[in-house]
Structures are given as C-alpha cells and as structure tokens.
Symmetry: C2
C-alpha cells in the first residue's frame, strides 16, 4: 500500500516547536497551552485571543531560518513510520510555507536527520494540494483537506489534536501514535 504521512503536527511537532520558540523569544507574552489549541492555524486562535500583533510574532517565528529543521519529532511517530515503511511505501506529503524559502529546504533536512539517511529525502512530496496525490491512506491532522480533486484516492486518517475533534467521520490515531496498530490493522 501507498501511505502518505503529513509532517507538521503528525511527525514533526510544529505546535510544541512554536510554543518553545515563542516562550524563548517572548517570555513576557501570554501563550496558549497545547491542550487548549483549538484552531488549525495558530493565528486563528492567537490573534482573536491576544491581539493583532500576534500575527507578526507568529510569522517571525515560522519564517526564522532553522525553525522547521529544529522541530522535535512527535513522540512515537518516527518508530511507527519506520515500522509501517518496512511493509509499505511511505511518503511524506507536506505543504511548505508559501512566504519563505527556508521551510521547503528544511523539510528535506528534517526527514533526513530524523530518519537517519539521505535516501529518506526522496520520500518527501511537497504540494499545496494533497488531493492530487495518489495513495491509499493520508495520515494528516488537518480537519478538512480540499483541492482540485473532489474525490481523492486516499482515505484520510486523523492524528488527534484539539482542533480536529469536531470531525467524527474519520479514523483517528493518538497524538503519540500509541494506538496506530489498532486503528490501522491493515498495515500490519
């Protein structure tokens, strides 16, 4: 089977990496704990809650050179993905940030460094439209994935985050991938 795995908040802990950098750079500013992050995009919650200046603060952190490369892996995700890749074709299917050059290049580095091999770079697919990609399963945290193709091939499987709990018609694995074998028995 062909399995696509999103990077941010699925294998790379974008939310934890952002929060860590926010508190390092701005220890005086308020923040939203991870368990209370109820919107898919940071700015959709930070700006209404704390004010318009957070738009710039978020953008500065996201576009910092090295931000993507230094994201911690989601606990359990790397081991689970390695195990799936022993039996299936695994690709990382990710959208870069539109505004910056760093994120695209750093996603290749991140995959190589976390999985320990230059060959893993070849598994990365960067696209702003995931409906164009063929595969059986797409593991992704985004509540709704839309694009040019109305009926994508893949079934989306969610990684659980507070901001996607309103979606009830999709299979869902825990944040730390601890239950992936029960949720996706066809991959065993």
């Amino acid at each position: 089977m062909i399995i696509h795995v999103d990077l941010d908040s699925v294998a790379a802990d974008f939310e934890a990496g952002f929060l860590r950098r926010l508190r390092e750079k701005h220890p005086d500013l308020p923040y939203i704990p991870l368990e209370d992050r109820t919107t898919f995009k940071l700015r959709e919650q930070y700006v209404p809650k704390f004010g318009a200046h957070f738009r710039e603060i978020i953008k500065e952190i996201e576009t910092e050179p090295g931000f993507f490369r230094s994201l911690p892996p989601i606990p359990g995700s790397i081991e689970a993905i390695r195990e799936i890749a022993r039996k299936h074709l695994v690709y990382f299917c990710s959208a870069p940030l539109k505004e910056t050059q760093h994120s695209a290049a750093e996603k290749y580095d991140w995959v190589e460094e976390q999985f320990g091999g230059i060959e893993w770079r070849k598994q990365l697919i960067l696209t702003f439209d995931k409906t164009l990609i063929r595969g059986h399963i797409l593991i992704d945290d985004k509540p709704e994935i839309t694009g040019a193709v109305v009926s994508p091939y893949w079934e989306q499987v969610l990684v659980d985050w507070p901001y996607n709990r309103h979606v009830t018609d999709k299979r869902r694995i825990n944040y730390d991938w601890s239950n992936w074998k029960e949720v996706l028995p066809e991959l065993l």
Copy 2:
C-alpha cells in the same frame, strides 16, 4: 483539465544554463553543444566522452547556490504555459536535486520570478515520483517516467530534445513550444 509541467528542460533551460556556467567557469575545458546532447543526464554523456573528472565538475555547477534560480526560461514556454493556465489547472511538477538544499527552495523562487507572482509558488509540486501525481497531461522531457504507480493517470507529452528522440509512441512538442496548439488541440 489538470496539466502538469516539468521545470528542467521544459520551462527552465537547464541545459543552456549548465553550458553557460561550464564555459564561464572552465573556458579551457571541452563541452558538448546542445544539439549533440544525447543522454538525459549530463554525466552519462560528459563522463564517457571527456573523463571521470567531469562528474565533479557537473555536480559543482548543479549544486552552486543560485544555479537553479538563474536558469533562463525556455523561449516560448512561459507564454504557452500562461495561455494554457487561463483555461486549465496548471501545476509545475518537478524533482529537486537529492544532494542539495538549494534546488528545492530555488525552484519556488524561479516559478515566482518567471511568472511574476507569489501565487504561482502554490502551483509547484516537488516529488521524486511523478507517477503518484494525478492529472490529465504531464509535459516532460524525460524519455521514460517510472515509479510506484505502474499506470499513471496522465498522458506524458514530450518536449523535444536529442536525448528523447528514440521515443516514438508519445506526442511531442518542439523545444520552443512553437507547435503546442497543433499537438495539444484539446487545451484550446
């Protein structure tokens, strides 16, 4: 319709850009004129013809920061792609160099600069396996495109280069896209 357009040697003149840089950097070395370039990869022809040191010379040029960004557009290609994009969904479907960080980031810049707008960045898909991408047509110079999917959705249409003239079972447009309307009347 969904139309995928490769970048290197289809919209971006990789061969002309390489030859220009080779002659700038090494005016003393021999070179292969564009009309005699009969292999898909540079090293497959340069190394047997001129010696193993060309492997390093080619790699140095390809991985130079700024090399991809400064590739000249293929004459006629930008206008043709713009015209096709008025009626169809056009994506750029390209493989970055595995060894370098520059090429991925610079491909986004190239598309933005040549087409004149940040929105064009979103049309770029970077993948090492184009058979995974859904679409009706893939305009690509590579003689044979293989990957995880044995029967891709798209029909490949070649851009004519000496190194793909042995392929006789595919539609083919001229290097300068001058005959694209006759070859692809369904796009008009």
